[in-house]
Amino acid sequence: MYQITPDDRQYVEEFRKTPVGRHSPGLQRILNLFRGEAMAGKYVLVCTKPHREWMLGQFTGVRGEKIRMTNHSFTSLHEAEWYVFKQRWKRHTGEDLPD
């Protein structure tokens, strides 16, 4: 499995600008790692107002169990992607990315 290296820091800004869409191979490699994680603890957005508001949740990894909801809600999917990316970056590298 791919391990994040210090060189990958250069792709963070690219993600921040375009979380969904055309990406450099370097960013795509990071995203394949982040987005391919197992279901236990995996992030999911639960739509609370269609096209306007989403709450962040996490799967437990057990079939049929309720989504574990967090307190984070978003009014833009772009913001939500950035928040999830930061959490994953922190888990893989130990680094807190600035807002």
Partner: protein
Amino acid sequence: MKRIMGYSDQISVCPDDTIRFMVNCEAAGDYSARIVRVIHGDTNPDGPGYKEEAIETAVTGRYPARRQAIHAGSCAVVPDHAFLAALGSFTVQALVWPTTPAKGRQGLAGRWNGRTGAGFALGIDEGGGLALRLGDGRGGVAEVAAGKPMLAREWYFVAASYDAATGAVSLYQEPLVPYARTDTAVAISAPVALRLPANVQAPVVFAARHAGVAGKRTLFAEHFNGKIDRPRLANRVLSRLEMEQVRGDLIPVALQSSMLGVWNFSKCISSETIWDDSPNRLHGETFNLPARAMTGHNWTGEEMAWTHKPEQYGAIHFHDDDLHDAGWEVDFALKVPAGLKSGVYAAHVAIDDDEDFIPFVIRPPRGTASSKLLFVLPTASYLAYANEHMVTDAPLAELLTGQVSTMQPADMFLNEHREYGLSCYDSHSDGSGVCYTTRLRPIITMRPKYQSWLGGKGSGLWQMNADLHITDWLEAEKLGYDVITDEDVHAEGYTALAPYSVFVTSTHHEYWTKQMWDALDAFKKHGGRLVYTGANAWYWRIAYHPTRPGVMEVRRAEGGIRAWAAEPGEAYHSFSGEYGGLWRRNGLAPQRMAGSGFTAQGFDISSYYRRKPDSYDPRARFIFEGVGAEELIGDFGLIGGGAAGLELDRADRVLGTAPNALVLASSENHTGVYMVVLEEIYINSPGLCGGESDLVRADLVFYETPAGGAVFATSSIAWAGSLSHNNYNNNVARITGNVIRRFLDPAPF
């Protein structure tokens, strides 16, 4: 959270037909109901928004809310019979292949009265091993257990006998394949003090335990996951040698009078009947559609088709989450009034802040057509995706979409209510693929307003709600149209299509029976014109149940993009005996039908098409009237921001694209999330993504047919999401309109 949901007994009706609606309310009080004609279901604020036409009918009103439950889990049931009433001593045996022996108590074969607690039940206990439970009906229960867990996905011979005179019980748990240092075989005898009552008055049940009745419904519990093959019931204690003698299909003469039931699941495979080979003919029925045409304990691998060696397909695979018919009470019915235009309709029900749409199609009066333009609602594909759980069950969901998965209240409900049944993209709780699906339950993903995690950035639509982009555009263009369903095409064949000159597909018309294929093929051969406003159609060959409307089967045989894979030897449909899998592997690639077939998929953002030299051919001039030479086509839209997206098709002469086909334009610049389909990959290698592979593209295709007809293919699921852009004034809408108006002109091509 979802509080109200329902379903109807039919999906397609004509004026004067009666359609019934069944509703469950999780809230108290009463709910409102009314009929609407659905025009547009996309709530994206960047698009035209939700549109309906209210229809005043006798349905309009308020109805008492009530809870209606679904009881999932399959089994097979032999009704109680006079021959069973005399049962004292007995032997019960079978060959079993448990898939989840550790999940808790599971019934294998028994005659247990769930109301009184009398009878016997051979099953798997909490420890995962075989156990025989006996009940005297007065609260007394005795159990003899093997005490060793069975291995999952291994065949076992299991048997138990009971001597009514002495109370002696014998139990056998014997793996057919032995392993070193893993001994799961058990043979024990033990006396029990308990005596069975004279007649327990109960059916024989396989793969579950009878748990009583609720109203008109029989309830079952302790559903088994796994296969059962050749169960037998004898009216006395058989020796181990005699058990062996009756294990096969030929019962020795000396033992024939001892046999109460010799069930042969390799007979009547296409039905719900379980056949008793004994002269007693204690036939039964399966409940909730367990999987049939499953390889038995004696499958050798020499034959892949169950029709050739049925005796090797004597197993039924039962699941604790199988479902056929929710079986709810009717809440209200609609006698379809005369004079309603053909279209997509729904019963809209609402309580508190929740609502549900129960969709159905109204056809023109039977035997007539009200337009030359036909839009076919792909109800087979809707069934394949019905209530799918990929977003909660498949770790790859986020990789496919290139974005954090988004769930709707309907998805949350389905995650926690597995009894609402699975889709053919799901796996059962034991990990085996789901090959049957039904519409006799609420399908809360088949709804206007529903957004799907799979539908790309933007509107996020998939299947029905995406297809309403087409009806909305037809309305905006004031193009009259009739609507029928896949089920109609399957049942009536070319007769259903003959009154029309233009057949418009859905965005993703993926699942076709042979009957449906032949109907559309005949339509083209009669000069009919085909407008393929989607991608990845004519992909999976399917079968409808021969006698149960609304039930469909798909076997995910070799090749193709598959959510699961059929087990070896299980690629042939039980409903029809036909080989399943891709139409391409059945010799009919989609390029033969529409000049274009599945080539790549990705579910993040969409792209655009660029015109190719063929688009300037005089034969194609009518298509590009009003479109500039340098215009990019569809660099806008509600589905991923472009007209070329989600799933893409391409022309390929080798796969059957007509030699006279023009490739008018191709899409380009797709993201790295797009990947070439698996059926194109023989040796996997780098370079198969968007931006790397030439196979990641959608081809805009046009060709004339020998009968004076023509075919136009957009080759993209996202195409319809661009139709409404700029108040329906854009080059995707213009091209689509140019094509349909010319196709409606009877002048031959």
